[in-house]
Symmetry: C2
Subunit: 171 residues, 2 copies
């Protein structure tokens, strides 16, 4: 598995069923959402802008894509959430690399993470933030279904604040 293949497999619309475990209080949160993943061009202005922001030559980018989502949590009084972000992979020669994103997962600011692929094709992304770090794992069970585990850790990585799991089915 390489990044171009992984992005290619991810393109489309996904119905996501996500459970978040807020560990300190043993709370469960259930979120239903729809996620749209679309391929972008390296020449698209948002891709160029994001590369410039990180002082990276856009010529190094491959398979940039956008992700947009809208979802609804089962927590009381929660508003439907929606958003979108641009993601730009910058591969190393060995198949691992960096992933730039216009809006982070743990904090809503631009973020840069490191990804690797495990031999079974699992994508593992580690992203440091100001006050936390995030680890995401995504793997395809079938071409029509993927799993995603996201952990929000303390900045030092010693504790886990939130663990969440999404099962995503292609619409």
């Amino acid at each position: 598995m390489d990044m171009a293949q992984f992005v290619h497999n991810s393109i489309g619309c996904w119905k996501s069923q996500r459970s978040a475990h807020h560990l300190a209080f043993a709370h469960f949160e259930a979120v239903q959402s729809e996620i749209q993943i679309s391929l972008l061009q390296v020449t698209d202005p948002p891709v160029q802008d994001l590369c410039r922001q990180y002082h990276i030559d856009p010529i190094r980018a491959i398979a940039p894509f956008s992700m947009s989502w809208q979802g609804q949590s089962d927590w009381e009084d929660s508003e439907p959430s929606q958003g979108s972000c641009v993601l730009v992979p910058i591969p190393d020669p060995d198949g691992a690399g960096q992933l730039l994103r216009s809006q982070g997962y743990a904090e809503e600011i631009p973020a840069i993470g490191r990804y690797v692929f495990l031999p079974d094709g699992t994508f593992v992304l580690t992203t440091p933030y100001d006050r936390a770090s995030a680890e995401e794992r995504i793997w395809f069970v079938t071409p029509q279904m993927r799993c995603r585990v996201s952990l929000i850790k303390t900045r030092s990585g010693t504790g886990v604040v939130t663990a969440s799991f999404a099962s995503e089915i292609r619409v």
Copy 2:
């Protein structure tokens, strides 16, 4: 990571927060449970019995262990569940191997699965059953926390019926 090390890391009492996604109906189930994992001896009668049942020489077994759990689902009218099983690893020379269990995950009968370890230490177990197959992945985030993803698939492996995720914290 090898099986002896993995079992050693797992010994103890764990508080588990588990979410099951029943995919056909997009239903969520939340289960809180406590899991006790204890080391057994190869000479213990339940270990010997399980090996005999699969016509495997117990001398090939390493680090057999027992798992017992009691839990409570948030589904209406569900009774507290509890149970226990004996697990016996039979390693190959390459570090992968077979795992015998006295009671299966997808079906409550004895089962034999194949395990491998990914380079990051993730334990991946695949178990065929009569009418289904199960894939479990367990990895340690810290020595005090592990994640477990379990998928129940159709026998042919083409569809996923239930996807569940447990975050487990050492008590």
